[in-house]
């Protein structure tokens, strides 16, 4: 269905190239892009400073605690110290009140920090301005490139995600057949080194799709046809994987190959292989390919037609990260709500499902609403929907010992919300803690809001 997911903007730019003319920008355009890039570079000073480490134990009492594993504790108590959860329980939970800063959150709801998998936040600032995009390297096979090092903690997009409850994203490279490796980032930090929770958690592979977009220059028509070049791509991949697997058995190779080095983790099980595939046949092929090459942990991403291969996914124990389900059905005759219901249908069939926002960057803040839509339209229990953006992604990412649920011993990475976090009516984040650090919830939007509230003097309206 899709030929990989480059950044959203690049899809459009391609389209316009097709539409009118040159594949290449005129020099003057490059110049303008450069200028605009300089003029409008994200101004780091505008983001609030990252929070200081937790110095004193904090207890949040009286709120409804959504643990993230399906459990809900009414009038709960959550205590954390030095960034670690020290107690999670009901009202009877005891802690040293004298040494602890107690925050009454009665009537509020507590959630683990939400996790957005497959996001490009921090890699893309303004998608139409080339100078601000670092999500897609040139070339087809880039296992060695790392999203981590391009991740910009000063992106002005990041604070806007925190304000909807997202505290962790998987910074994900895009493009090519193998896009590179992703890393799990905390949404607060001075630089990528201190923002990273898990480095290089996995490699991203776009499975060559059964159907590829064919563009006809004669009449400008675009259609999806059987992909005529896919076997060649698969052959190249097979060569790479078998070479890399053999290479991985050599401890100290005499000639270091950066690309092959980058694949080592797949065979040892240290890294996931995230495979973007939507078509049901692509999904089967991709998983079989991965297994046959000794890849320990394949994950299917996108998975629009996963309903047809539910048994296959279960038998092979393959977790699925759905792309944006705020989309239309792919086919005219599909049920109108099918994308909304997909998470629920897969979950009820026994597939491990995480939700993502389709590798978006700024829109990623709407991830809780994707889960809410899944609950509302799919008759899915809200706590189950919540798991799809908390504990399940944590498990897939291999960070479930630290984040994903509110359990003793895990990181104090959580939010206090006005109400139901999955519903925009009540998704108002009042506090956010990342490793116990109280994060400043200011963002560009709030500043502008305040500025113009003051201008019009409508603060009290």
């Amino acid at each position: 269905m899709r030929t990989g997911r480059p950044s959203n903007y690049s899809i459009k730019v391609h389209k316009l190239y097709f539409a009118q003319a040159s594949y290449f920008l005129r020099p003057i355009s490059y110049f303008l892009l450069l200028i605009s890039g300089l003029l409008f570079q994200p101004v780091s000073a505008q983001n609030p400073a990252p929070a200081k480490p937790q110095t004193k134990p904090i207890a949040l009492v009286g709120g409804t605690v959504h643990v993230g594993n399906g459990t809900v504790i009414d009038k709960g108590t959550v205590v954390f110290d030095k960034g670690i959860l020290t107690a999670v329980g009901d009202a009877s939970t005891t802690f040293d009140r004298n040494a602890t800063e107690v925050i009454d959150v009665t009537g509020k709801h507590l959630y683990p920090g939400l996790i957005a998998m497959g996001a490009t936040t921090g890699l893309v600032e303004i998608s139409s301005v080339r100078a601000t995009t670092d999500n897609q390297e040139i070339g087809a096979l880039n296992p060695n490139v790392r999203a981590l090092v391009a991740y910009n903690t000063d992106s002005e997009v990041i604070p806007t995600l925190r304000n909807n409850g997202l505290l962790l994203t998987q910074a994900t490279p895009q493009g090519g057949t193998i896009s590179g490796s992703s890393s799990v980032m905390e949404l607060d930090g001075w630089n990528w080194e201190d923002a990273v929770l898990k480095k290089d958690d996995g490699l991203w592979l776009t499975w060559p799709p059964f159907f590829a977009r064919e563009f006809n220059f004669e009449d400008f028509s675009v259609s999806l046809q059987r992909n005529s070049r896919r076997q060649e791509v698969i052959n190249n991949l097979a060569q790479l994987f078998s070479d890399a697997r053999a290479y991985s058995q050599i401890k100290n190779p005499s000639i270091t190959n950066l690309k092959l080095e980058a694949l080592r983790g797949l065979f040892s099980g240290n890294q996931n292989l995230y495979i973007r595939a939507d078509n049901s046949k692509d999904i089967i092929e991709a998983v079989k390919f991965a297994k046959s090459h000794g890849v320990q942990k394949p994950v299917i991403v996108g998975a629009e037609d996963a309903l047809r291969v539910v048994d296959f996914l279960k038998e092979n124990n393959i977790p699925v990260v759905l792309g944006e389900t705020h989309r239309l059905p792919n086919r005219q005759d599909e049920p109108v709500y099918q994308p909304y219901q997909l998470p629920s249908l897969l979950q009820k069939a026994g597939v491990t499902v995480a939700l993502s926002y389709g590798e978006a960057y700024w829109r990623t803040r709407n991830l809780p609403f994707v889960a809410g839509t899944a609950a509302g339209f799919g008759n899915l229990d809200r706590e189950e929907a919540l798991k799809m953006i908390t504990s399940i992604p944590a498990k897939i990412l291999g960070v479930d010992k630290q984040v994903g649920t509110l359990e003793k011993g895990k990181l104090a990475t959580l939010v206090v919300c006005k109400g139901d976090i999955l519903d925009m009516r009540s998704n108002g984040i009042e506090h956010a803690f990342i490793r116990g650090r109280k994060t400043d919830l200011d963002d560009r939007h709030k500043r502008q809001y305040k500025k113009y509230n003051d201008k019009y003097d409508i603060g009290n309206k």
Binding site: K12, A21, S128, L224, H326, R331, G372, Q448
Partner: protein, 1013 residues
Amino acid sequence: MKKLITLLITVSVCTSIWAQTPTFPRNGVYDERPELYAFTNATIYIDARNVLENGTLLIKNGVIVGVGKDLQIPNGTVVNDLKGKRIYPALIDMESDYGMPEVKRTQGGGRGTPQQIESNKKGAYGWNQALNPETEAGKLFTVNNAKADEMRKLGFATVLTHHHDGIVRGSGALVTLATDSENSVIIRSPVSAHLSFSKGSSGQQYPNSPMGAMALLRQTYYDAEWYKNAGKNVEYNISLDAFNALSGLPTVFEATDKWSLLRADKLGNEFKTQYIFRGNGDEYQRIDEIKASGGTLIVPLNFPAAFDVEDVWDADNVSLAEMKHWEMAPANAAAIEKAGVSFVLTSALLKTKTEFWTNLRKAIEYGLSETKALEALTTVPAQLLKCDDKVGSLKTGAWANFIITSGNLFNADNVIYENWIRGKKYIINNINQADIRGTYNLSMEAEKGKLIISGKPEKPDYQIVLSDTVKITPKVTYLNDVISLNFQPDRKAPNATTRLTGYREGTGFKGSGETAKGTPTKWEAALQEPIKLAEARRDSTRKPAPNVGKPLFPFVGFGNAEKPKSETLLIKNATVWTSDDAGMLPNSDVLVENGKIARIGKNLSAANARVIDGTGKHLTPGIIDEHSHIALFSINEGGQSSSAEVRMSDVINPDDINIYRQLAGGVTMSQLLHGSANSIGGQSAVVKLKWGGNVSDMLLPEAQFIKFALGENVKQANSGNPTSRYPQTRMGVEQVFMDHFTRAREYERAWDSYNSMKTKIGMPVPRRDIELDALVEILNAKRFITCHSYVQSEINMLLKVADSLGFKINTFTHILEGYKVADKMKKHGAAGSSFADWWAYKMEVKDAIPYNAAILTKVGVLTSINSDDAEMARRLNQEAAKAVEYGGIAETEALKMVTINPAKIMHLDKRTGSIKTGKDADLVLWNNHPLSIYARPDYTIVEGAIYYSTEGDDKRRDEVEKERARLVQKMISAKTGGATAIRPPFRRQRMWHCEDVEGVMAEGEEQSEEEKK
């Protein structure tokens, strides 16, 4: 070999008549012959309804001089006895490019090509390269024997040909399919005028959309009228002159589907011209509307091939609509006949011409009557072209254009022997060739067996059986009574060949040859038994037409078997969000009658009402999307910086599945906007989402809006291509507006001054300009602007332009920096229609904030939330709810942003947008709090008719599945039965957004968020 002989005969015939053009000098000796022929004892179809048994047809010098029973045959007549055979008038095809030069599509517009702003035509022609009224098929025509032969074999003698290039294609010529000099082949020229929506070889930017093509045609009609009266003294214009010369000719409009046919008819109505429509084979899907057009149809027989649906997963990529069309297309002609629509048939649009008879017979099998079929190929086209005195029937005085057949023309075993064109014979199959089919006793000197001849009389199949079991297929040539057979009698010896040569003698064959062993032998084949022919089908007998399922309205999955009707509905005990002064009414009832809200209250009752229990549910006004691009065939006419003349109402697509999907999200009304490719876009169309209705069912003609646009799109900032269209900066954008409105004022003055003259005689009429008409409407507050806008500087600019020229900006749409100039907008009286939370995807939305709607509202600007996206539109209630989160807007006020506020913005609040007695019953019953993410519509009601309901949707899903399953099985059987099947392509529907240029965003294209602006 036989082919070659036929060709030789053809050629020799041609040479003999080549000399008939009297003005041409002759190289050789005169060879004028009496050319007097009689055809006797034939069944003669004078026309489809007058048949003469045992009749005689007498022709002289290419003209019919007699047709009747007891005709005197003058001396010197060549008499052909056609006992048992039939004569039909030769067929006429009205849709052809026979003899026309190839249309070369411009490569322009592809990578690296600069935009072509002006016409490349050199000379005193009109401004647009797609207008070719001066093209005369008669001047371009050249004889093409190969193509003519192809058509002659099918029985055609005359075609109406035209050059298929451009929107105005000039005149057509009626030509025969004789192989002769052009001078004698062209019968009449000009005989017709031809129009289309396709710009053909023109690489000029404008128009690049069907609504642009429509506008160009409108303007051309006006320009031609002006040229005739006043313009010819102002400029010399070959094109307008030629366009005027076409008026009065029968005009054929090439439609590409049912909706473009109806669009063309709308144009015809505006200019009091009844077009003849070249259809596309899907007319049955909207036959009532097509009939109402009053036009005659040129109907192709282009039936789609079955899809290969044996792979279950791949088969899902074929839509129900495609499968149903595959099943129903052969019944199209029958449906047209049944509806009483006048039509002709054409061999055009077939993959190969040889499909013509197969498909025509199939159409007859599916219910088309033979009489109508024959008329549609003879008398009807002749009458349409006002040539019925000469062609289409075999009456005295008409040209001798006829075909001789073995039997009923429409029977599968019919053979066309000869096609006579103006008295010249073209042999298709040898009429004198005896039917040799049968079983013969084959005897050679050393061996005996059977020779079995079967197959078609003109193309027999041969088989030899030497022993009881071994069947051998010999190689045979049989021509002019001489036969030659060779075969391998022993399978184990494939290199040993028996060769027999001989001739027909009586009812058998005889001759000599050499056996495989090299022994000379005599041989003989004596007829044992002639072939048993199935009893010839009587013309009137007919099997019942195959069952083809039922049409859907619209013709796609989830379509209605019957169009939904307004009902008397009583919704009981719901929480009613009125979006009105009445606020929110708990536990209340709403009565709907005649499409209107009749009563609101408690404990209402009404006899005959369908009662819907609203307990625990929420009733709101239907959601209104101020900014939508669904249900359209095209979005942008971006060829020029202003396209005020184009109308989105010309390109509404009632078949778009997104209409149904929006209903499933509670949307009842959408404003379909032009895109944002240029500063002054096109005129908007506001539609009620009446799924199954036609364009006029959906359209609200009282809503008169136009799209404007500012910023990056109109200056083509993100295209990355060499762009040369003005403007390229926001400075230029301002000047586009200043320039256009200044001109509009002057234009208005010119007309005012003309209209106020007491005596107009001798005064030149000003030229009507439909682009300026739209701008004058804006100046006079008769048309209202919806302006795509983002940054404060440009919003401020347009407000100042409007203030300085004395008009109003009705709505700023998107308006993501509206919060920065909310006070100015309020002062001007402009409304804002915003995205809830979009930002960051391009430079001009860097300062977009989700608090925008809240600030605008608090400052006092009338504000709505829009989608610009078919997906987001079905969650507009969720998007409105974001105004509660971002900016603390009250929930009832937030709901107003997608109900009464957009209704007010679109000046339709008197009839819809709130729950108030007397207003249109556009309602949604939600299963949950309407601003909650968990809310789904249980019922979506438009003007009292239920267009979506949860249980209705379940039923539709069930029907889609059943119908798909039935058709899949049918397709598989068709394939097993030998029908060709094509691999299912994966088609995704076009999704339009502001920036989409015609043709770029096609099926299968992936949408991205950035397009949505």
